[in-house]
C-alpha cells in the first residue's frame, strides 16, 4: 500500500510526458486523458480509505529511510487534498472538452494540466521542505505556461505580476529552506518538527517561522500579499480557471495548515493571532473587491481571496475544532468555487460575454442554468443547510468560544457582502431582461458544460445535506494534523522518539 503513495505524482507526470509526444489532438487523446483523470480519482479515494483504516502511507523514495531519503507521506489530510485535486482536474478536463471543439484545442493544454496536477499532488504528498519547493516550482512553471498559452498581448501583461510575485515567493522559500537546514540540520518535516519543538522559544525559530509562513501566505493569497491573484485568474479560459480557483490557492492553505499543525511548535500563539487578523482583513478586502467588480470571473476571483480568509482564520484560531473547520471549509470551497467558475463559463457561452453589462435574460430562458449558479452561490454565502453554512458555522462557534468578537463580526459582514455580490450577478445575468442581449441556446456547447457543472453542484449539495460523515472525517483529520509526536514517530520511528525526547 505504501508504494501507492507516490502514484498520484507519477501518473499525471507520465501522462504529461506522453501527451507531449502524442501531439495530434483528437477524440482518442481526450478519452485517454479523461481515463487518466479518472484513474487519479480512484487512486486518491483508495488512499483516503487506506489512510482511514491503516493509517498514513509512508514511503522513503528509493528505499532510503528518513531522515536521509525523501519521504512521501499520505495521511488523511493529504489524501483528502489529493481527492479534491483529482475531482477538480477531472471535472475541468471534461468541462473543457465540452466547451472547446477538438479542432480548436491547443495541443499543450492537456499535458500542461497534467504537469500542474503532478506539482499539486507532490506538494500534498511530500514530507520534505526541499521537495515542497520543487513541487511549487513545477506548479509555477506549468501554471504560468497555461496562463499565457491562450492569452493575447493585453492579457499577458496581467500574467507578469503573477510570475514575479511567485518567483519572489520561490526565492524566499529557498531562503527559508536554507535557514531550516542551518537551524535543524534536516529538511525532513518530521525532523524539523522534532527539533523545532525542542528549540521553541529560540528567536531564530520564530524568525524562520515568520519567513516560512510569509512564503505560504503568498501562495494562499493572504492580505497583503494577494495582489497577483485577482487580475491573473480572469484571463484564463473557464475550464482552467475552475482548476486554478479550486486548487492553486488551496495548496497555499494546505501548506499553511501543514506548517502550523505539523512543522512549527504549537505554542507560537502570537503568530497564530497575527494569521487570524490578517485572515480577517483578507476576508473583508476580498469581498469588497468582489462587490466592486463588474464581470463574473472578476467577482469570483476576488471571492477566492475572501474565502481564503475564512480558511486561514480557522487555522489562526488553532484548536482541534478550528482545524476541523478549516478542513471542512477547504473541501466545501474547492467544489463550490470550481462549480461557480464553471457556471460563469456557461453564462459566457450563452450570452457571449460574462460582463454584467452585456449579460441578461438567462433565468427566463434557461432556469436550469440559473439553479446551477444559484445553489453554489448561496452555498458560498453560507445559507443553511448548504455546504458553506457548516464551515462558517464552525468558524463562528470557535470565534465566539475564544471571545474574538471583532473577527466573528468581520466574518459575518463578509458573508452578507458575499451574498450581496452574488446577487449582483444573479440580478443582471439571470433576472434582468434586456431584449438587446441574445441568449444563444442554439450553441449546443452549453449542454455538456452545464452537465459537468451539475455534477459538481450535486456533490456540493451532498456535502451540505449529508454533512455528518464529512464532518467526522474533518475531525479525524484535525486530530491527526495536530498530533506532532505521532507524526514524528511515524516517520523517524524509534530514533525520532529519541530526538523528540527532552
Amino acid at each position: 500500500m505504501n508504494n501507492l503513495a507516490v502514484m498520484p505524482v507519477i501518473v499525471p507526470a507520465l501522462a504529461g510526458v506522453v501527451g507531449l509526444f502524442w501531439w495530434r489532438c483528437g477524440t482518442a487523446r481526450r478519452v485517454a486523458f479523461a481515463l487518466v483523470g479518472l484513474a487519479q480519482l480512484v487512486l486518491a479515494l483508495v488512499l483516503v480509505d487506506s489512510a482511514r483504516t491503516h493509517g498514513p502511507a509512508v514511503l522513503g523514495v528509493g528505499g532510503w529511510a528518513a531522515p536521509y531519503g525523501i519521504a512521501i507521506i499520505v495521511d488523511r489530510l493529504s489524501a483528502i487534498m489529493l481527492t479534491l485535486g483529482a475531482i477538480t482536474a477531472l471535472a475541468s478536463m471534461l468541462y473543457g472538452f465540452a466547451q472547446q471543439p477538438v479542432r480548436f484545442e491547443h495541443p499543450l493544454r492537456l499535458p500542461l494540466v497534467q504537469f500542474l496536477v503532478a506539482g499539486i499532488s507532490l506538494s500534498f504528498a511530500t514530507a520534505d521542505l526541499f521537495n515542497l519547493f520543487v513541487a511549487f516550482e513545477v506548479m509555477l512553471i506549468a501554471s504560468y505556461a497555461l496562463l499565457t498559452l491562450e492569452a493575447d498581448d493585453r492579457d499577458v501583461k496581467h500574467a507578469l505580476p503573477y510570475l514575479t510575485v511567485n518567483l519572489v515567493g520561490g526565492a524566499l522559500f529557498l531562503g527559508a529552506a536554507g535557514l531550516a537546514y542551518g537551524l535543524f540540520g534536516t529538511l525532513n518535516f518530521a525532523g524539523i518538527a522534532a527539533r523545532a519543538v525542542e528549540m521553541s522559544g529560540d528567536p531564530r525559530v520564530m524568525a524562520w517561522a515568520v519567513l516560512l509562513l510569509t512564503v505560504f501566505a503568498i501562495k494562499a493569497g493572504v492580505f497583503p500579499l494577494y495582489y497577483w491573484l485577482p487580475n491573473a485568474y480572469p484571463i484564463l479560459p473557464a475550464p482552467v480557471a475552475a482548476l486554478y480557483s479550486g486548487m492553486l490557492t488551496k495548496v497555499g492553505v494546505y501548506v499553511l495548515l501543514r506548517a502550523c499543525g505539523t512543522l512549527l511548535p504549537h505554542d507560537l500563539t502570537g503568530l497564530h493571532a497575527a494569521l487570524a487578523w490578517l485572515a480577517g482583513l483578507t476576508m473583508i478586502l476580498g469581498v469588497l473587491g468582489a462587490v466592486s467588480r463588474n464581470f463574473i470571473r472578476g467577482i469570483l476571483s476576488f471571492h477566492i481571496l475572501s474565502q481564503i480568509g475564512f480558511m486561514v482564520l480557522a487555522i489562526g484560531f488553532f484548536t482541534e475544532y478550528a482545524v476541523a473547520a478549516a478542513v471542512f471549509y477547504i473541501v466545501h470551497h474547492i467544489i463550490v468555487k470550481s462549480s461557480l467558475f464553471m457556471a460563469g463559463g456557461v453564462v459566457g457561452v450563452l450570452n457571449r460575454s460574462d460582463d454584467l453589462d452585456r449579460s441578461a435574460n438567462l433565468w427566463r430562458t434557461m432556469p436550469v442554468v440559473g439553479l446551477l449558479f444559484l445553489l453554489p452561490a448561496l452555498s458560498l454565502a453560507g445559507l443553511p443547510p448548504l455546504s458553506g453554512f457548516w464551515g462558517k458555522y464552525m468558524i463562528v462557534v470557535e470565534g465566539v468560544r475564544q471571545g474574538q468578537w471583532v473577527l466573528v463580526v468581520l466574518s459575518l459582514v463578509a458573508s452578507v457582502l458575499t451574498l450581496f455580490s452574488m446577487l449582483k450577478i444573479w440580478n443582471t445575468s439571470f433576472w434582468a431582461e434586456d431584449p438587446s442581449v441574445p441568449v444563444r441556446r442554439d450553441d449546443g456547447r452549453w449542454r455538456g458544460m452545464a452537465a459537468v457543472t451539475g455534477g459538481m453542484v450535486v456533490l456540493s449539495l451532498a456535502i451540505g445535506l449529508g454533512a455528518a460523515p464529512f464532518m467526522d472525517l474533518a475531525f479525524e483529520t484535525a486530530r491527526e494534523v495536530l498530533d506532532q509526536e505521532g507524526y514524528v514517530r511515524l516517520v523517524l520511528g524509534a530514533a525520532g522518539e529519541a530526538v523528540a525526547a527532552p
Binding site: P384, L423, N427, W431, A467
Partner: protein, 491 residues
C-alpha cells in the same frame, strides 16, 4: 407532515400540463390541511409539554438533532399555515400564467419550511428552516412580481439575511454557554440560569432578527416594497405566515430562554410597538394603492401582537397569539380581495376602483366584512384579540395604552375610507359596469376565511383553549424567573 409538501413538490416537477398542475397543488395542499386537523384532534389540551415529538440524530459531531414537537401556540400557527395554502393556490389560479410549475413548487417548498419553523425543537434545525423559506419567497417576488420586483426581492432577501446573522450568533452563544452540556435543544435551553447581562445581549440579537421579520418599526421598510411587488399568493403567505415567524420567535425563544432580557427590554419594545401601531395606521390612511394600504395596516396590527407579547401578562400574550391568527386570516383575505380587484381592473389604485362594489355586490360584501374585521369590530375575530392585548397592556402602562388608542381609531378610518370608496364611490369615471362579480372559485377561496372571521369572533373558545395551557405556563415561568431575579437583587 413536514415532508408531505416536499413530496408533493417533487411530484409536481413531473406533471407536464399546467391545468393538471394547478389541480394537483390544490389537492395536495387540501389533503395536508385535512391531515393537519389530526394534530388538533390528537392534541392533549391539559399539558404545556411539547407533543407529537420526533427525534433523530442528524450531525452527531455538533450535537445537532432532527427534533420536532409542538405546543398549543405552534399548533395554531401550523393550522393557519396549512389552511392558508390551498387558498393561495386558488388565488394564483389565473393570476399566475407563466412558469406555473415553478410557482407551485415554490409554494409547496415554502409550506414545508414554514411548518418546519413552527415545529422545530432544535435550534439549528429551526435556523435551517428559517433560511430555507427565504429562497422560494425571494424567487416568488423576483420572478412573478410586479415592475420593481428585483428591487423588492433583493431588499427582502438582504434585510432578512442580515437579521438572521444575529440569530446565528445568539444560537452559537447559547450553545457554548455551558461547556459541560452543550446542546441545541430548545426545551433544554429554556430556564437555564443565564446571567442578566448575558440574557440582555442574547435578547438583543434575537430581537433584531425577529423584529426585522415581524416587521417592527423602524425595521419595516422592506415590507411595503415586498407586498406591492409580490403576486397575490406571495402577499398572502407573507402577511399570513411569514410575519408570524417573527412574533413566534419572540414567544418561543425570547420569553422562555431570556426572560430577564425580555423584562429588561420590554418597555423599549412596547414603545416601539406603540410607534408601529400609530405609524402603520396613519401611513395606511395616506395610501392610495390598495396593496400598500393593507401592507401598512399589517405593520400596525403586528404592533398589537408585539405589544401583547411584551406586556408579559396572560391576557396580553393570549391576545397576541389571537392577533397573530386573526391577522393571518383577515389580512390574507384582504390581499386575496385586492388580487381579485387587480385581476379585473389591472390597477390597485383606490380611486380607479371606486364604485366597483355597485357592480360586484358579493365582492363588496366580502371586502366589507374583512374591513370590519381589520378594524376590530366587535363580533369579528380581531376584536377579541386586540381587546385582550389592550387589557393586558393597561395593567402595565396606562399612558402607553392611551397613546396607542388613536391607532385603533386610525384603523377604523383607513378601513372605512377604503370600504366607502370601493363600495359606494362614484362610478362615472371609470366605468365598471362590465366588471363581473366573484366566480365560484373565488368564492370558494374566500368562504373559509369568512367562516373563520365569524367563528373566532363569536366563539373564540376552541382557539383560546388550545393555547391556554401553553400560554399560562409561559407567563408563569417568565414571571417566576423575573421575580426570582428581583428577589436575588433585593438581597
Amino acid at each position: 407532515m413536514i415532508f408531505a409538501p416536499l413530496v408533493a413538490a417533487a411530484v409536481a416537477a413531473f406533471i407536464p400540463s399546467e391545468r393538471l398542475l394547478r389541480w394537483w397543488s390544490l389537492i395536495a395542499t387540501l389533503a395536508i390541511a385535512v391531515g393537519s386537523v389530526a394534530l388538533y384532534t390528537g392534541f392533549d389540551l391539559t399539558t404545556h409539554a411539547f407533543q407529537f415529538v420526533e427525534f433523530a440524530p442528524w450531525i452527531a459531531a455538533f450535537r445537532i438533532n432532527y427534533a420536532l414537537g409542538i405546543d398549543g401556540i405552534s399548533l395554531l400557527l401550523i393550522l393557519l399555515t396549512t389552511f392558508i395554502m390551498p387558498l393561495c393556490v386558488l388565488a394564483s389560479w389565473k393570476y399566475i400564467t407563466t412558469r406555473v410549475k415553478e410557482f407551485m413548487i415554490c409554494l409547496l417548498v415554502m409550506e414545508s419550511a414554514m411548518i418546519g419553523v413552527f415545529s422545530a425543537l432544535d435550534f439549528v434545525l429551526f435556523f435551517v428552516f428559517w433560511e430555507a423559506m427565504l429562497i422560494p419567497m425571494t424567487l416568488m417576488i423576483g420572478v412573478w412580481g410586479g415592475p420593481r420586483k428585483v428591487y423588492a426581492a433583493v431588499k427582502f432577501f438582504i434585510y432578512t439575511m442580515a437579521g438572521s446573522v444575529f440569530l446565528l450568533v445568539a444560537i452559537v452563544a447559547l450553545y457554548l454557554w455551558d461547556p459541560a452540556n452543550q446542546t441545541f435543544s430548545i426545551p433544554e435551553l429554556m430556564g437555564r440560569p443565564y446571567s442578566q447581562s448575558f440574557q440582555a445581549w442574547i435578547f438583543a440579537a434575537f430581537f433584531i432578527s425577529f423584529a426585522i421579520k415581524v416587521p417592527m418599526f423602524p425595521f419595516h421598510t422592506w415590507l411595503p416594497a415586498a407586498h406591492v411587488e409580490a403576486p397575490t399568493a406571495g402577499s398572502v403567505i407573507l402577511a399570513s405566515v411569514l410575519l408570524k415567524m417573527g412574533t413566534y420567535g419572540f414567544v418561543r425563544f425570547c420569553l422562555p430562554i431570556t426572560p430577564l432580557g425580555a423584562a429588561y427590554h420590554a418597555p423599549f419594545v412596547m414603545w416601539l410597538s406603540v410607534a408601529a401601531i400609530l405609524y402603520g395606521g396613519f401611513a395606511a390612511l395616506a395610501q392610495s394603492d390598495l396593496k400598500k394600504l393593507v401592507a401598512y395596516s399589517s405593520v400596525s396590527h403586528m404592533g398589537f401582537a408585539t405589544l401583547g407579547i411584551f406586556s408579559l401578562t396572560t391576557a396580553g400574550l393570549q391576545g397576541a397569539t389571537l392577533v397573530m391568527i386573526n391577522h393571518g386570516v383577515t389580512t390574507g383575505a384582504l390581499f386575496i380581495c385586492v388580487g381579485i380587484i387587480y385581476e379585473r381592473l389591472h390597477t390597485r389604485d383606490l380611486g380607479e376602483s371606486a364604485g366597483l362594489g355597485k357592480f360586484a355586490p358579493v365582492l363588496a360584501g366580502m371586502v366589507g366584512l374583512f374591513c370590519l374585521s381589520s378594524m376590530a369590530f366587535p363580533g369579528t375575530n380581531s376584536f377579541i384579540g386586540e381587546f385582550l392585548v389592550l387589557s393586558g397592556g393597561f395593567t402595565v402602562s396606562t399612558l402607553m395604552m392611551c397613546i396607542a388608542v388613536p391607532g385603533v381609531v386610525a384603523a377604523a378610518a383607513y378601513n372605512l375610507r377604503m370600504l366607502q370608496k370601493f363600495a359606494y364611490g362614484s362610478t362615472k369615471n371609470p366605468d365598471h359596469s362590465g366588471v363581473p362579480d366573484l366566480s365560484a372559485r373565488e368564492i370558494f377561496a374566500l368562504a373559509p376565511l369568512v367562516i373563520f372571521v365569524l367563528w373566532i369572533g363569536l366563539q373564540p373558545g376552541p382557539f383560546v383553549d388550545v393555547m391556554k395551557v401553553s400560554v399560562d405556563h409561559l407567563v408563569q415561568t417568565t414571571q417566576a424567573a423575573i421575580a426570582q431575579a428581583a428577589a436575588v437583587a433585593a438581597q
